[in-house]
């Protein structure tokens, strides 16, 4: 290989590196290595002056390769690649040695650190010599977007994109969009009515010319890659012909069968077997719940069909399978409420007057089962005292260690609603810490303090109907240690509300596998970067917003949704995007068609051509992990920018001080 001219730049990073590593020594030493044209050390390489050094040397000394020994490439690789590019050097002829995070910050041993720095620099030098110029890959972006989940996040994202003139497919599992927000009564801290602010948006989404609304539908398959996904959706049979249905609701009226509505009414109310989850449902068409429909169970009834004025009922209707192309995907699949049954000592399901937060939301909702009256389980008695237990299933090693973020606020809201509807009723909030970070939130807390809510700082130990003291008879007793007065307290109340936390959807793991993206131990989808990129995922072209990424309240969800939409819109307007060229490619000449690599790719980027008996990597699908490269027994798959030559020379370089050239050893 003809000699390269490598420039090596060792950064002091103030004293961050120079404090531990003898940077001058490293630079001088580097200067003496093979292929190294010039080696310098400098206070701050990332400063514009530092970058100028590089650019000037490239121009004046004709450097063909550049190595910067400084911080982590995750910090400044972009910066220095930029510098090279400006000076006309292909950015992929640059390599970085991480002597800060991986070295100077990790030890105080100056000698060892300097030795290690030399190893890392030498590795970079020997590697960079084998690096080759690469060009970024252009990818066409299909202007359509798929949004999964029709809650407030999905609706927001959909409208943002649609209003900007882009087509959106909005897919919702339930018969209507609206999500959890549609179940709520008031929203904190402003207390404006949830439905009043949500339904207009739902209607917009339902009627928008740029939005194809696929409710009562689920994603079956996702193929393809950024810019060009192929989506397969199963549109479940409603047994209602949408074209003919006017949404008059007569069918619902006439249907003789009532079942408990565990979804929209959170189990607190009933619905018919042919139903719309709620009056303002979008779309307006009802669905038949086949599990419970007398016709489907016994072949009789047909009341809905008989009374339908437009003959819109079709019991034979079958699921539809739709296929379409999109360029980007936004996941807004929302959350599940923590199942309070998992904490038996709180008695939910056993003690009649213990309710979950969602049950209570429905209860106080004017359109809910009690018409907005706060009743005990008997449906008639108003409670004289209500206990609200915070952090149910949250901040608890036994269930979820994280804070669900919204419970403190909605618990305060509950307290307020009880005061409002039942003046004179006592309200006790059992909290661990009061968490009210947000605009107007702390003020709301103070308002509640003034409204006379009793705040007891302590996690409730149990809720029991086992009376012990006078006055406890026939009540629910909440026992807790009041950590402010350091005493055990037993508060007898009529009604207990469990502020259950937010959990990832039960099927989020399957979803993340369907979309080939990551989700964390708790089941929340993993963002590309926890701070700097909370809306993108590790998979190009797939974005996340709302509670599916982590517990969130409405404003945060809306903000994230808009952000995701903006990111997508940006890509759409670009039309084509440039992708990192770190991709695999197969030398078909040398491919024996053994098919080992065929199962290596999680993105199905490797296809086998029966006719030519060779495998091929679809570059656009490839994400550059290199798993197939390592697997290929013929060694003929090349991983651009991580080739065998490059890594092997890096290994040799990094071992410069312990290496001994294999020589022809005479004799034994």
């Amino acid at each position: 290989m003809n000699k390269e001219k490598v420039g090596v730049y060792v950064c002091h990073c103030g004293t961050n590196i120079a404090g531990v590593v003898d940077v001058e020594d490293v630079a001088t030493w580097a200067g003496e290595q093979d292929n190294v044209e010039i080696a310098r050390d400098y206070k701050f390489m990332c400063s514009s002056l530092g970058q100028d050094l590089i650019e000037d040397d490239i121009k004046e000394k004709g450097l063909t390769r550049v190595v910067v020994a400084a911080c982590s490439p995750h910090m400044h690789e972009k910066t220095f690649r930029g510098a090279c590019e400006r000076a006309g050097l292909n950015p992929f002829l640059f390599e970085m040695a991480n002597i800060r995070e991986h070295n100077s910050w990790a030890t105080n041993d100056k000698v060892a650190a300097t030795q290690k720095a030399k190893a890392l620099v030498n590795a970079a030098v020997e590697r960079v010599v084998f690096q080759v110029p690469l060009e970024k890959l252009p990818i066409e972006i299909n202007p359509n977007t798929l949004i999964v989940g029709g809650g407030i996040s999905g609706i927001t994202a959909a409208l943002e994109l649609a209003d900007a003139g882009n087509h959106v497919y909005l897919v919702e599992r339930e018969p209507s969009i609206g999500g959890h927000m549609a179940q709520l009564d008031k929203t904190f801290p402003t207390l404006d009515c949830s439905a009043c602010i949500l339904t207009p948006k739902m209607v917009d989404a339902g009627q928008h010319p740029n939005i194809t609304l696929l409710s009562y539908s689920e994603i079956e398959e996702v193929d393809g890659y950024l810019g060009n996904f192929t989506i397969t959706v199963r549109k479940k049979a409603r047994c209602v012909i949408e074209e003919d249905c006017t949404g008059c609701g007569i069918c619902e009226e006439k249907c003789p069968i009532k079942v408990v509505d565990d979804v929209f009414e959170a189990g607190l109310g009933y619905r018919k077997v042919i139903y719309r989850p709620f009056p303002q449902a979008v779309p307006k068409y009802p669905v038949i719940d086949k599990e419970n429909c007398t016709y489907f169970l016994r072949g009789k009834c047909k009341a809905c069909q008989i009374f339908c004025p437009t003959e819109a009922i079709d019991f034979e209707q079958e699921d539809e399978i739709l296929k379409f192309q999109v360029g980007n995907i936004i996941l807004t699949t929302g959350f599940d409420l923590f199942d309070a049954r998992r904490i038996p000592q709180y008695g939910y399901g056993r003690l009649a007057n213990v309710f979950t937060s969602l049950e209570f939301e429905r209860m106080v909702n004017a359109a809910g089962p009690t018409g907005g009256n706060i009743f005990m389980r008997d449906g008639v008695t108003e409670p004289q005292s209500v206990a609200i237990i915070h952090c149910v299933g949250s901040r608890d090693k036994n269930y979820n260690e994280y804070c669900s973020k919204v419970c403190c606020m909605y618990s305060l809201k509950f307290a307020h609603l009880v005061h409002e509807r039942l003046p004179g009723a006592d309200v006790y909030n059992f909290y661990i810490d009061m968490r009210t970070p947000g605009k107007g939130y702390e003020e709301f807390y103070h308002r509640l303090l003034e409204e006379g809510t009793h705040f007891i700082r302590g996690r409730a130990a149990e809720v029991t109907d086992a009376a012990r003291l006078p006055g406890e008879e026939g009540k629910l007793i909440v026992q807790a240690e009041d950590t402010l007065i350091g005493k055990q307290r037993r508060i007898p109340v009529d009604m207990v509300l469990l502020s259950a936390g937010i959990e990832a959807r039960g099927d989020s793991k399957e979803i993340s596998q369907l979309f080939r993206m990551g989700c964390d131990f708790d089941g929340f989808f993993t963002e590309r970067h926890p701070k700097l990129d909370p809306v993108a995922t590790m998979t190009e072209g797939i974005y996340i917003a709302g509670a599916c990424q982590g517990p969130k309240d409405i404003p945060d969800s809306v903000a994230q949704a808009a952000a995701a939409a903006a990111r997508v819109a940006g890509l759409i307007t670009q039309g084509t995007v440039m992708m990192e060229p770190v991709r695999a490619s197969i030398n078909e000449e040398a491919c024996s068609g053994c098919r080992i690599c065929n199962t290596m790719c999680p993105y199905n980027a490797i296809v086998f051509h029966e006719d030519r008996n060779v495998s091929e990597v679809i570059t656009a699908l490839c994400q550059g992990c290199g798993t197939c490269v390592a697997a290929c027994p013929s060694g003929i798959i090349t991983g651009a920018h991580f080739t065998n030559d490059q890594i092997v020379s890096e290994i040799e370089g990094i071992l410069w001080d312990v290496r001994s050239e294999p020589e022809l050893v005479p004799g034994d």
Binding site: A590, G593, R595, I596, A631, P633, G635, L664, G667, D668
Partner: protein
Amino acid sequence: MADSGKPTLAMYWASSCGGCEISVLNIHDKILVVDEVFDIVFFPCIADFKTKDVKGYPDGYIDVCLFNGAIRNSENEEMAHLLRQKSKVLVAYGSCSYEGCIPALSNLTTKQATLDTVFLENPSIDNPDKILPQTSYKVPEGELDIPVFYHTVKSLDQVVDVDYYLPGCPPEPPQIWAVLEVIVSALLEGAPLPPKGSIVGARDVAVCEECPLEKHEKSITRFYRPHEITPDPGLCLLEQGIVCMGIATRAGCGALCPQVGIGCRGCYGPLGDVEDQGAKMLSAIASVIGVGDPSMEEDELEREIQAVVDTLPDPAGTFYRFSMAHSLLRRANVNGGNGKGEAK
């Protein structure tokens, strides 16, 4: 060049089984052409020349020397140096001289263990006095020397400079003839020789290319040793859990073994872009182990995969059956790590 004006040919066996010599005769009537074209000046298997004759030749007197067999002892090495000195073109002929082959499997253990096995422990041995070879001993006639038995088996190119490699255990006759043809035409018509160091008589693609068995995506849930399974005819052996080195081995043999239901042993050695045949084979075969998915608990995951790995009894011996001496590590560590090494 011999006085006859014919180019001179030599063939020598170092540590080998003799199969390579047979393979040359396997080119059938072409052998007559060889005899016609060449003057054979050293060929212990078929002609009575002595080492001293070779020593007598001027340097470069031998036009082509086919050297087979690994470097196992001091004599092998001595002859390697001698023949290198006397030959224009030195060909590492066959797997042993190219990459160590079966003899080099003893690199997985110690010299002592090898000698003990051969001279003491082998069931067919009768050696009550536990007599082991001595490098030299006295007899009435005087002192005799026996070659020193090396600790580590080496390939030819690890002791002398080699011009060409002709892989195979043994090389396949058509390939041999093809190579000889090239050399002959080079010697007679001055046709160009392939670049020094190239591997001749083999292809730059894996055995699968020549293997007619049907191949699919692979997912192995347990490995079988040949006696444990009757393979489905016509179906890729690897897919059936039989270790077949074809995926990681140079083609040229015509995929003979897989076609009779025996997994490729890998005798043609690694492909051009591979430095270590064993490691590469390991990587490929482990990659397609068909158990373990991301949703599993970490320890469960490890248990499941380990269970499959356990069905492959001797990875080193299997993956390095022919290439041990030429592999990156060349031999087992029997003394490093405070003697905690596994090999015994």
